[in-house]
């Protein structure tokens, strides 16, 4: 973590993990951000190896709601792709299929 006047850099890999999976981890991160005095937050994604769509989605939701100014840096290509995928999903929510499903009864062969 590096502080420069009202700005702070948060290394996500150190605070959470190199592999970002959980929505609740995003909520914890933003609770932490809320507790900081700084108003300009830089989230540093250096060293992140993987990210789930759920993490990326929750991050974008929380960032949108945040009062503080949050910017990202050092986003690895695969992580950037996930954020872009989630943004596309947000712009084009899909319809749930209404096609009937085939259901079989389970019969034990023993």
């Amino acid at each position: 973590m590096t502080t420069l006047s009202s700005e702070i850099v948060l290394r996500i890999a150190d605070i959470i993990s190199e592999n970002l999976a959980f929505r609740d981890s995003v909520d914890n991160l933003f609770s932490y951000i809320d507790s900081l005095e700084e108003t300009n937050i830089i989230t540093d994604f250096l060293g992140i190896k993987s990210i789930t769509g759920s993490f990326a989605h929750q991050y974008l939701i929380n960032k949108k709601k945040a009062i503080k100014h949050i910017t990202e840096r050092n986003i690895p290509l695969d992580v950037k792709k996930m954020f872009e995928l989630v943004e596309r999903r947000n712009l084009n929510p899909r319809e749930i299929s209404t096609e009937p499903i085939e259901v079989l009864d389970v019969v034990s062969s023993f």
Binding site: S25, V106, F110
Partner: protein, 265 residues
Amino acid sequence: MEFNESDLGREYLKFCQLRNNAHHTKKMDLSNIDWFYPTNLLPLGIFIKTNRDISVIPPSSSEVLSFYNIITKGKRHVSSRSSYHPIAEIPLDAHQRERMLEPLYAFESDYIGGRNAFAYLIGELVDNVYQHSSFSTAYIMAQKYPKKRFIEISIIDNGISIHGAFKKAGFEFDDTTALSEAIKGRSTKRDRERGFGLISSINLLTKGLDGECLIVSRKGGFIAKGEDKQTFYNMGEYHALNGTLICIRVSYITKTVNIYDYLEQ
């Protein structure tokens, strides 16, 4: 596809038979077991743990007994060189979650389409448990089979089930319909931007990694295998499970899979 045509389905049926016999006889007879897979060992381990009045007749084979003892000990720290990840509790504490999965991420991921594909799959499946099941206990285990060249992972929770999660959100679905709605991408959070976790994981698993998936949640069942085979099941009382069990089996794939080719757009 009949339930017992699937490898995971057959292993789950073995668990059901052992469990139901144990309910009647108050004995869990494992003496004839020739091998365990996570799909039967994980629910068996949890069943034995929560039914202390049932006595266990251990496996006759010393090799199987040794494996059974190791896996059910529930060691927390496992070397990435181990061929197994023993039954481990999924922590309720949000601060321990990411670290808990670290040994699994290192677990042969190079043979499962690369770290990105493997981590995505595990991360989404476990996040689903946290987001929807309202569990008090949940467990995960994994086993790799270098000679057979596949890895199998199981996750079980004692939560409200997929049916219960929809009910909590105001949807009235039976167990199998609830499972199918979840797999089609309907979110229990009533948010059309959500609900991608399960559907995208199954796409990646079956189409990208040529894997197999079994889900049992109360009386609802689902098996996906390969590109096109997806079947839902009424499990009935005999094969029902309180909570939810998710099992995946993935053959070794040494090439790196581009997950974005398979994630729901």
